[in-house]
Symmetry: C2
Subunit: 132 residues, 2 copies
């Protein structure tokens, strides 16, 4: 499929897909006319990139995560170790998102009577402030 279709299916703009190719994240086949040609596997990888980028992982982290699956030469123990670190990181991110969510929910609940609390950011974040 062409880049436009891959873009629709993955949620990434064509510009970004070309950029990812440029930096070696995902190389595409070429059709006879010079157009990039994407498979469904490519689309899944692009979708994976779209997701993990939007969740705050760097391009280098995404490259590492993609290579966990793609690199046949890599030791399984190695893969396992890296994956475990990332799972811990994801758990932390989930906890932080839950905390942000609670903070906003609190704001929503206390907006009913047109009386906004003065500083819920302090209440909402005091629990995990002062971390390294």
């Amino acid at each position: 499929m062409n880049i436009g279709t891959a873009s629709e299916k993955s949620g990434l703009p064509p510009k970004t897909i070309r950029y990812y190719e440029e930096i070696g994240l995902l190389k595409a086949d070429r059709a006879g006319n010079g157009y990039r040609d994407y498979s469904m596997t490519d689309v899944h990888r692009l979708r994976f990139l779209q997701r993990s980028r939007s969740l705050g992982f760097s391009v280098e982290e995404c490259r590492q995560l993609l290579s966990l699956y793609g690199d046949k030469k890599r030791e399984s123990a190695d893969v396992k170790a890296i994956a475990q670190i990332k799972v811990a990181e994801i758990d932390r991110k989930i906890a932080e998102l839950a905390s942000l969510r609670d903070m906003l929910s609190h704001l929503i609940d206390h907006c009913n009577g047109d009386e906004r609390p003065d500083c819920p950011i302090i209440d909402g974040l005091a629990g995990s402030a002062t971390v390294q």
Copy 2:
């Protein structure tokens, strides 16, 4: 407190804190010697910025979220509406992180016998591919 202390307490590098001031996200008081002077409220806001940035929210989104609390002139109904949109977005992010987590857990579990599955990215992400 000085910027170094605020940096430690918030988890943001001093450079980043100065940058946020430059773009008008958070203005600090100045001590007699010209040093920036931060209150605990400032630290909470910085910590909030550190968090939401690392979770994939843009600086403009963070500015909007901060203003939900800070802007006294804003209608409460307005604040509530924006907060609700953001809560929905956070829920989506949590679900996506959970899905990434499952994907990596699956990889970890199937690494024991040095037999790595060929393409778990497809299994792990097929559920939510093909979204606009």
